[in-house]
Symmetry: C2
Subunit: 314 residues, 2 copies
């Protein structure tokens, strides 16, 4: 299919199911299952996977095995394994463990920032500067990516000003981080908001803003991805089976669904390197590992269109 003139020709889907997805799921997935997930995702063509978080184990027992999971992920050639780190302490561990990328959440919502990290956004920016310095001091290779969470609104504070998002992006880019993404943490974004916020922020991001993290809570996840694609954004977080819904909205979906996003991109002629059969087979395993959890997504059931063959997706 002909591309819209301004769509990227390639895009990256970063699998965040092992972190953002599992994080809100109560029963702890055994490390062996996580390794199998990563192995199969890698075999299905995924080359960026967020494998966990360096946070205190008592806060998130689900992610307590992050160091082990990361160590395995690092054995797969060409795979960029990222970990979420909330502070300098987590960052030190990420660098010790030689994570490819550490992702630092920075809430654009003052209220959410206080609730989540007990720091104001500006205090988090200061911590990020310390992390940049610590990496410099170490000479570590771990990339630093900032995810601006609640960028499109917040369940606590409500509205988040685009000017505040732009200010924070500029601050962390000036601080020397490698990449920035905008996250619709609570599923408030619509395509017009995505277009307008990315347009407002891109000019101050000095080429570092390249990731969209959309939750599908209200069904607009893929529409939001499309709106971002039109502005040249070419990296997206997604969860296999759309896991990771919000505890306040039982049954609500989490991140955009990896396999549906892979289909959308492939159908539009945007290369992702992902393999449909592999993703759907892995989704079936996930359904077994997470027995009792509601998985989301449409493609696994409907299958590929007759107009599209497997080779086109790969």
């Amino acid at each position: 299919m002909t591309l819209s003139s301004n769509l990227p020709s390639r895009a990256v889907i970063r699998e965040v199911g092992l972190r953002d997805g599992l994080q809100s799921i109560g029963s702890v997935m055994p490390t062996a299952a996580k390794l199998e997930w990563i192995r199969d995702a890698y075999a299905a063509g995924q080359r960026e996977i967020e494998v966990g978080a360096f946070v205190p184990a008592h806060l998130l027992p689900q992610l307590a095995d992050t160091a082990n999971v990361l160590a395995f992920a690092r054995t797969l050639p060409g795979l960029t394994a990222s970990v979420l780190v909330p502070n300098l302490k987590g960052a030190e561990r990420a660098m010790e463990c030689e994570a490819g990328t550490m992702v630092l959440p920075l809430s654009a919502s003052h209220a959410h920032s206080l609730a989540n990290l007990r720091k104001t956004p500006d205090e988090v920016v200061e911590e990020i500067k310390r992390i940049v310095d610590a990496r410099e001091a170490r000479g570590a290779m771990t990339k630093i990516e900032v995810g601006i969470s609640t960028a499109f609104g917040c369940t606590i504070q409500g509205r988040v000003e685009p000017s505040e998002v732009a200010r924070l992006v500029k601050a962390v880019v000036d601080a020397g981080v490698d990449a920035v993404g905008l996250a619709d943490t609570v599923g408030y974004a619509d395509p017009a908001m995505v277009r307008s916020l990315f347009k407002a922020v891109l000019p101050v991001a000095k080429g570092k803003l390249n990731c969209g993290h959309f939750h599908d809570t209200r069904g607009l996840g893929l529409a939001n991805v499309y709106a971002a694609l039109e502005l040249g954004i070419s990296r997206f977080d997604a969860c296999l089976g759309g896991i990771g819904g919000c505890p306040h909205a039982p049954g609500a979906s989490g991140n955009v669904v990896t396999e549906d996003l892979a289909f959308m991109l492939a159908s539009m002629g945007i290369e992702t390197g992902q393999n449909f059969d592999g993703l759907v087979a892995l989704r079936s395993k996930l359904a077994v590992w997470l027995q009792g959890e509601l998985l989301h997504g449409a493609l696994w059931r409907a299958g590929l269109p007759k107009t599209m063959n497997q080779t086109k997706l790969a």
Copy 2:
């Protein structure tokens, strides 16, 4: 929220649940429930509703009460009630019953056209000309709308050429129909295809192409709506609860979900006149009327964002 420069400021959601939705559902909905559905949809602000089809009752027992349902719909001031008609005979009934609009399906897929109507697309165009003439002869007020089905591909034939879609649109516009829509009957479309096909067809449609009919079979329904909105298309078919899935993909969703679409449009500042609480309450009734059928959609569960209040949706 700021509009993207080229989005329409108003849009119409036509509820097609009573026709496209119910059509694939086995158990016949009692007429009384249909009237209650229409009454509540009208109260929730819907002003275009497809109430049934004039097809032989033995083929579609679900829609055998269309004349009665239409008669009721006509009592509601300002409501445009449409009916699907496959041929001149159905069109005569639609005009006798003074339907506001009759929707004529015209498959762009040769194979689908033969399977569905036992006529080639060109034979259907000839029938449409006879219908235009019959309306002229009668002096009837019923508008004639053509829905180009399988415009984005076909489960039987596979690929459908955009040039064929454009040719058929030109033919029916030249024949004197009032409106044309493009339908992704089987859920094959992606936003790039939507953009590209509408762009190809708009120049030959002489201002008559104004409707998008998208199925959410592969999760891309709302993304496709957004792509069409960007080209100024401002009427969309939708089904409450996303009913109407394909018999060949059990559990697959049908048309885009009315209440989710109403949310997306309202969130983008596009006026639809629809009331969220009313739609969600009606969805709950639908769940009772269609006990055992899988309903779809996200918003009924997640609720409106804190950043958006009811008044904004209405």
